[in-house]
Amino acid sequence: MIGDDWILRVEQLSKHFGPTCPDCHRLTGPDAGRSRCPRCGTVWACVEANLQLSAGEVLGIVGESGSGKSTLLQMIYLALPPDSGHIWYRDNGGPPRDLTTLDRYEARLFRNTQLGIVYQRPELGLNMRFSVGGNVAEKLLLAEWRHFGRIRARTAELMIKTELPPERIDDEPPTFSGGMLQRVQIAKALASRPALLLLDEITSGLDVSVQARVLDLLRRIQWEDRITMLLVSHDLGVVRQLARRTIVMKNGHIVEAGLTDQILEDPQHPYTQLLVSSAL
């Protein structure tokens, strides 16, 4: 299914919150229909997740609220340390590195140079007190750009790329609409030319026409830059538009993985069947 050109490989990645008890395993998961253990209250947010991303690929992760999609994404973003498992990263066919072994400083450096993230709520990804240009420039400044003129030029370039009016570079985020703020987040995420773009429910708060424009933009960027993306959404329609492959999560477990079209046309897991029949 997958060639040898992978850049990210997640192996047996797990995360739980709580004390754990001997019955956790039996009482949680997709078969039990819950991720919180009724005996000890432990939440099994993500259990032994495996996935692999090839360079230039878009992988979708779908699942209902609380299924562990965002936990998985936060672990890959190195913002949440996993309990166990590995995140292997390979740069241009180089030797694989285990990102879970990085210390805080190295993780921050990796995050700033190799990863970009776009959140559902713009206030998580943007500083509302800084100007839009400042927000986008943050990534450049962290990458040791020290020439104000060049930073401005690159920021304006990124704004044009993400279909934002460059003359509004010094305006503050609260004066922008929801769809524009998502594009500001995308511009910021792209600033350091990341190897991997993480998208967390980016169109969930937008109305349908704005949603379509943001998705169009992402598709164009993906086409132009061949950027690898991990797209988290509860909306199969969004995933279908962008992702060639999709994994389905439920109660912290990956229940199905495969080509997006295949999953949509011939869902195997009962939950996926329910999801497909209700979404389309």
């Binding site: 240009g133 420039a137 943050e138 400044l141 020439h147 104000f148």
Partner: protein
């Protein structure tokens, strides 16, 4: 000049355990240049915010053989300096001086003396606000995380925004610097004029914030770089044509103050480092 210490108190007021704790924090601060080290700021007969951080450092490192100079706003005779000096001499009996070249320990607020400091001298600075990240991150815990990850993007955006809004890096004092290319550090209330003196200096600089309970240090020969852009570089205060009204110096940091006279008064610009100014005046009078 020196006097016998008051026998009511332990040498240098603080008990030995308290001094040892502060010295341990100082060692840590020197080992990690620019890093904020917490310490148990003690109660003193001086209110917090009046230089207790610097005072505790001075009291912890001072020995009977030291010669002390205390300045406030560059002046040995201002209220704060006089009071701190009196407290230290009464409890230690050390000699004091106003001459920068004679002092072994200089406690200061706002200024680094004009005369170059040597390797056998220590400069102790009183710090009002220790963490430069407070401008961009009010949450102390998050700011600590940012320091540990060297995540200074927000601070750089602050500088960027300063250029966008004001057309220049508009920061008068407390100019942020990178120490040893790792930690972002506040230069406390010293003016921009004194910031270059921290870079690759011969002297040990110790910073104490009593109210915030933090100690940090710039050891000798440490790289101290102000945050700046290639096309908007860091600049010290520059006032072309201005000179000291008393000694005529053009190469010193000047302050202006109001002088009253029969005609109602006038503004006068003089050296901020009063002892250095007086020294120059005395030299000029001697040569005449």
């Amino acid at each position: 000049m020196s006097e016998t210490p008051d026998q009511l108190y332990n040498f240098a007021l603080l008990d030995e355990d308290a001094k040892r704790e502060i010295r341990r924090a100082l060692l840590k601060a020197v080992a990690i240049p620019g890093h904020l080290v917490p310490f148990a700021s003690r109660d003193l007969p001086i209110a917090r915010g009046w230089g207790t951080g610097g005072l505790q450092i001075t009291l912890s490192i001072i020995t009977p053989d030291d010669t002390l100079k205390v300045i406030d706003q560059g002046d040995d005779e201002s209220v704060n300096a006089v009071n701190l000096r009196r407290l230290i001499t009464r409890t230690t009996g050390v000699a004091t001086t106003t001459d920068t070249t004679e002092a072994t320990i200089i406690q200061t607020r706002h200024r680094i003396p004009e005369e170059p400091l040597r390797a056998d001298q220590i400069l102790v600075l009183q710090v009002p606000m220790a963490d430069p990240l407070r401008w961009v991150e009010p949450n102390l815990e998050r700011a600590t995380t940012m320091h540990s990850e060297a995540d200074y993007g927000k601070m750089w955006v602050y500088m960027y925004e300063s250029v966008v809004r004001a057309g220049d890096l508009r920061i008068a004092s407390q100019y942020p610097v990178m120490v040893n290319r790792r930690y972002l550090m506040d230069t406390t209330p010293i003016p921009r004029w004194d910031v270059p003196k921290l870079h690759m200096a011969e002297t040990l600089y110790l910073f104490g914030a009593g109210r915030e309970k933090r100690i940090y240090a710039v050891p000798p020969y440490t790289v101290v770089e102000p945050l700046q852009f290639e096309d908007y570089p860091f600049r010290t205060e520059y006032r072309p044509g201005q000179r000291c009204a008393r000694c005529g110096a053009e190469h010193t940091f000047l302050t202006s103050h109001f002088v009253s006279d029969d005609q109602g008064g006038r503004w006068e610009t003089t050296c901020s480092d009063a002892a250095y100014c007086a020294k120059r005046v005395a030299q000029m009078e001697a040569t005449e």
